[in-house]
Amino acid sequence: VTYDVLVVGAGTAGCAAALAARRASAGAVLLIDLADRPGGALAAMGLRTNQDISALARAGIQPSFQTALVEIAAGLRLRLLSSGGAQRAIARAVVLATGGREATRGNLALPGSRPAGVLTASAALRLLTATGRRPGNRVVVAGAGRWARGVAEALQRAGAAIAAIVPAVARIEGWPRVTSVVLEDGRQRACDLLVLATALHPWLPPALAHAAALPGVFVAGTAARGELDEREAAADGEAAGRKAAAWAMRDKLAR
């Protein structure tokens, strides 16, 4: 199978990229996502209930959900995985819109015990959305990322108490569950959930990290630029989609 443009990630940037590629008259556009619905991280975190994909449908793009790009090699030879098994394909151009990521506890080199109840904002809200249960009762939110306020509000709506929203913490205490954190000024705050809500930074999963250097691959949205709002992510995805379509067109003519 040969696709003109493969778009990985059906979040804001990926949907915009797929649509833009299609409108720029790239023939076969495939949009895939690991999740079972569109909307990317925001949908998984319950920060947006429904991504409108009717524009995609009108443009003739039917996203393939629960589908992963597991390998990508030079010549944009691809391996996709879904419940149908592994599938080999070739793309003329690829847009990676797989989302950014917050710093983990390990990245922040945050000392202390290693208990349950220490989560990134993304993990905390994904848990709440997937299980319908909150990941803690008394919460300290640390970090100034775009999700810091949203995570606090969502957890509060789910019945948790917000003990503090702070720029950073200095140490984690408690076992087997966090019982308190020590702030940078030495004060202690009791909690049973620490949410790390630092700014999103650009990121690709390890299996795709090398792909950014391949000709014909375009990285878009928070995966490329970190902290973006929805409008910026859509604009970035749209630009990447147009570039990918142009690349695919040149590739088609060259062959």
């Binding site: 629960q66 995985l81 419940s83 390990g106 990245n107 000392p111 349950a116 997937a130 299980t131 087997p176």
Partner: protein, 485 residues
């Protein structure tokens, strides 16, 4: 058979031939060694999974024993285990990365110590090679240019330490052994030809008991009135770095220990990351598994001394382990004073992983000396086929897996390329993974770059389904570590 809970309505008293207390790598290796005989062995573990104590946090190196004190039981068992370690890993389906090790001398004192280690290796019968400055720099150009010389120990290797512990346990269970999890031993009393063991969940009887309780080995010994030894905890902090953030280090790099400092090492792990550490901090607190800013600073300084370009900018994770240092220096493997039906396996320090197969077989011999009747099974234990993995599998194998269970086509953890099918299989394996950390030790799921940020929700929902319970019952590890409330 795996028990997590006692049968309803008051279970009958179980009588085992041998009960192993402690499901670390040593206890599991003893159970594995016992499983080769016509016996009824069991293992009881206080935590929710095997390998969750000392064995969960180490440098995951299978040592040759080149630096063990010559003539010690430790030297004998580590060197003996080394000779068969590659075959063992192949039989048990455990990843082994034969990197070899390189000990670096950076000043004159270390160069003198290097001589001493070379002589010690000769006494232990370990193959080593002395390398001059030029040879070290030519082959490992990223090491400190100030290096004066090196000692190459080609037999040192990195091993999947979680995998080895689990493999021992799985093979034993498949051969008929019983593993009791989430169950702490609280009392032991001799009763005729057996020992009566009280746990937090039930009473058990065993003809023999093996005390492989790690940091609690002295506590268990005291239960039968043996206070002949004590365990001192020693904390070691480690740091994990992704290979993409470091020079292409393909050998274990060791500092030359001196009277001044033992130093920290760099180990390319079997799974691909770099492990840096450990610190060595004597502590009075067996439950102190916390990392500190000072510990990380020490590791940072130590590794840059070996490889100046290795800057720990964005570590994947930090963790700490607590080793059990016995009061006698050497391993303590002997019948308990005044209670010959209990055999201690204590003070295994930091070489338990390396010596484990030899420790297991040595303990069997000690039990035989104490009167345990031993007859080998008619047929040898089969090789262990490790669970099917999608990452690295060819299209045909994936097609087979997906035909068996469509969830092998659903990626759950993108960092480590783990599917829902693999998670489900691990939850129903011979030693079932019933917590997120247990899944991590079997599949490396949530152990990658994002440390579970993207997959913990899906994993929790999946595990709740496999445990036939509610998400609120899913734990990170022990009771009290529930993921959601």
């Amino acid at each position: 058979m795996i028990h997590g809970q006692p049968a309803a309505g008051g279970p009958p008293l179980e009588i085992y031939d041998v009960l192993v207390i402690g499901g670390g790598v040593v206890g599991c290796a003893v159970l594995w060694a016992l499983a080769h005989y016509d016996l009824r062995p069991a293992l009881v573990e206080a935590e929710s999974d095997v390998g969750q104590g000392i064995s969960r946090a180490n440098t995951a190196i299978a040592h040759t024993g080149f630096d063990a004190p010559p003539g010690s039981l430790e030297a004998r068992l580590v060197t003996s285990a080394h000779r068969r370690f590659a075959d063992l890993c192949a039989d048990l389906g455990v990843a082994l990365r034969p990197t070899g090790a390189l000990m670096l001398a950076l000043d004159d004192e270390e160069l003198r110590q290097l001589d001493a280690y070379e002589q010690r290796a000769a006494l232990n019968g370990t193959l080593v090679e002395r390398l001059p400055h030029e040879a070290v720099r030519a082959r490992w150009p990223y090491v400190n240019p100030a290096v004066l010389g090196g000692l190459r120990i080609p037999g040192e290797a990195s091993v999947d330490s979680f995998g080895l512990t689990i493999a021992y346990a799985e093979v034993a269970v498949r051969a008929g052994a019983t593993i009791l999890l989430d169950e702490r031993v609280t009392a032991i009393e001799p009763r005729g030809e057996a020992l009566l063991i009280t746990t937090t969940l039930r009473r058990l009887a065993a003809r023999y008991v093996v005390n492989a309780a790690g940091l609690q080995a002295d506590t268990i010994a005291r239960m039968v009135g043996d206070d002949s030894f004590a365990i001192a905890p020693r904390k070691g902090q480690l740091c994990v770095v992704a290979p993409a953030d470091a020079p292409p280090i393909d050998s274990i790099l060791l500092p030359t220990p001196t009277a001044r400092t033992k130093g920290v090492l760099i180990a390319p792990a079997a799974h691909g990351n770099l492990l840096l550490g450990p610190t060595a901090e004597d502590t009075n607190d067996r439950a102190d598994w916390a990392t500190t800013a000072g510990g990380l600073a020490g590791i940072r300084e130590g590794v840059r001394r070996l490889v100046p370009a290795l800057d720990i900018r964005q570590p994947v994770a930090q963790y700490a382990g607590v080793r059990s240092v016995g009061s006698e220096g050497d391993y303590i493997i002997r019948p308990a004073a005044g209670c010959p039906r209990m055999v201690h396996v204590a003070g295994i320090r930091s070489t338990g992983l390396s010596a484990s197969p030899a420790i297991g077989e040595y303990v069997v011999e000690v039990l035989r000396d104490q009167g345990l009747a031993l007859a080998r099974h008619g047929t040898p234990l089969p090789r262990r086929n490790p669970p099917a993995r999608v990452a690295g599998a060819d299209d045909a194998s994936i097609a087979d897996l997906v035909a068996r269970d469509r969830s092998y086509g659903e990626i759950v953890c993108l960092c480590e390329m783990v599917t829902a099918g693999e998670v489900r299989a691990a939850a129903h394996g011979p030693v079932p993974a019933r917590t997120l950390d247990a899944l991590k030790r079997r599949l490396w799921v949530a152990a990658g770059a994002c440390q579970g940020a993207q997959c913990i929700a899906r994993l929790t929902a999946l595990l709740a389904g496999e445990l036939e319970g509610d998400a609120a019952q899913v734990r990170k590890n022990v009771a009290g570590s529930e993921v959601v409330v």
